[in-house]
Amino acid sequence: MSDTDVIELLRHIDPAPGEQAPAPIAALLERLDGPPRPPARGRRRRRPELPAPAWRGRRLVLGCAGAATVALAAVVLLSLPGGGTPNVAAAMYQATTPGSGVLHMNTVTEKIVGGHTQTTSEQFWSEQNPRRVRLIISNGEETLESALTTQPLKLLQWSQSNPDVIKQSVPTGIADSEQTGVQVLRQLYRKGELTLAGKSTFDGQPAWLLEVHPQYTRPTVDGKQLPNPTVVVSASSFVPLEFDEDSVSSEHGTPELMVIRVRYVEYEELPRNTQDEALLALAEHQGASIENEG
């Protein structure tokens, strides 16, 4: 199958073939506000500046001015080794180091197998010393909410399918820290398995692309080795924006390609105050009774 065949086939499914007649320019001319700006000086601007993106809810709020100063200085130092390409993996590690506030993460995970997409949304809050974690996970059909406290050790769980019951238990085998996707990325950095692959863009915003180099051999599908996973990192805050991995699924019997895509819609650290600490508690569920388990 030649490249020409592929391009031709894509052209055949073009939903708007050819150029589309635009609206008359007269209405647009009435909206022109003042003369054009003078040309940018000093360097050629390849892209125009646009208003700050309203779509992105991501923000990194550090708990205190001191922490902000330290983090900013660290990011700057890590970003400019020798004044050249930033050490993006190190800056990502620094930007995701938990502070003293309440970490809030909002992720959307897509698992694509055989043309079918399964989407899972997660809202995650955590706080350390003492450790508290709250998680809301939904796949569109079911929603689960859980809240863990370690002092005293207690786990509360609620599900949309059984809304009248809150299950309370004393869990065993609690890990020292939660294993979120970001924690996994941090571990990969510590093991030296994250390298810079180049510049990128994410939803039109400047970003960096990191490539994961796992120590195991990547699996194959249809006789072809799958590419390494990648991580898109914000060029401004260095927090992760998207993780992509091609993998193998055998859920339908025959091994087939499975694409995992995790989008970090929000990654922020909120101040540790009464209002934000309340986010770590199980939501109020009217009429639900608490059932003790185990």
Binding site: P15, W55, G198, G204
Partner: protein
């Protein structure tokens, strides 16, 4: 040539391409708004717009940002799905094959998909398309290669498994 004349010439030359770009990636009803936003930006930055063949790439880069600001990744994919599944004008000679291609496109990473669509639909050269995406040509070439390889695999599979039913065909992607 005055600023106004230059702007009108720019609009006459490229507004159709910008509108087509917007229609391919979002609701038809939004296309004129995207065109207006792109050219208002072009007017404000008229002296930064390349006067050579790169002007179209410059305008499409603005259109890409305008649409990105308006929608997030998931809704963009949904919009593309809607455009491909329900609003394509041409009758298909091989609907099953096209179905597979569409699913393959939608299953790609957004950056790979956009790379190959800029070539196939917008008819840009690698250099122009790389400018739209703000990446080096070498980076762009890798993305296109990855997308083509994935699509070619779908087409090859389609030829080998013509007798299977639609469900099975979709599952091998």
């Amino acid at each position: 040539m005055s600023d106004r004349q230059q702007f009108e010439a720019l609009y006459a030359a490229h507004a159709g391409a910008v509108r087509a770009y917007a229609m391919r990636r979002g609701p038809v009803t939004d296309a004129d708004d995207v065109v207006a936003e792109v050219f208002l930006t072009a007017w404000r930055r008229l002296h930064d717009v390349p006067v050579d063949v790169d002007s179209r790439a410059w305008l499409l880069a603005v259109a890409r940002r305008v649409q990105a600001n308006a929608r997030r990744g998931s809704s963009r994919q949904q919009a593309l799905r809607a455009r491909l599944e329900h609003e394509r004008p041409a009758e298909s000679a091989d609907p099953l094959l096209e179905r597979r291609v569409i699913e393959c496109l939608l299953g790609m990473r957004e950056r790979d998909r956009e790379a190959i669509l800029l070539i196939a639909w917008e008819g840009l050269t690698n250099r122009e398309a790389a400018r739209v995406l703000g990446v080096r040509e070498s980076t762009f070439a890798v993305r296109v290669h990855r997308a083509k390889r994935r699509l070619a695999r779908v087409l090859t599979d389609a030829g080998a498994s013509h007798a299977r039913d639609a469900t099975n065909l979709l599952e091998v992607q």
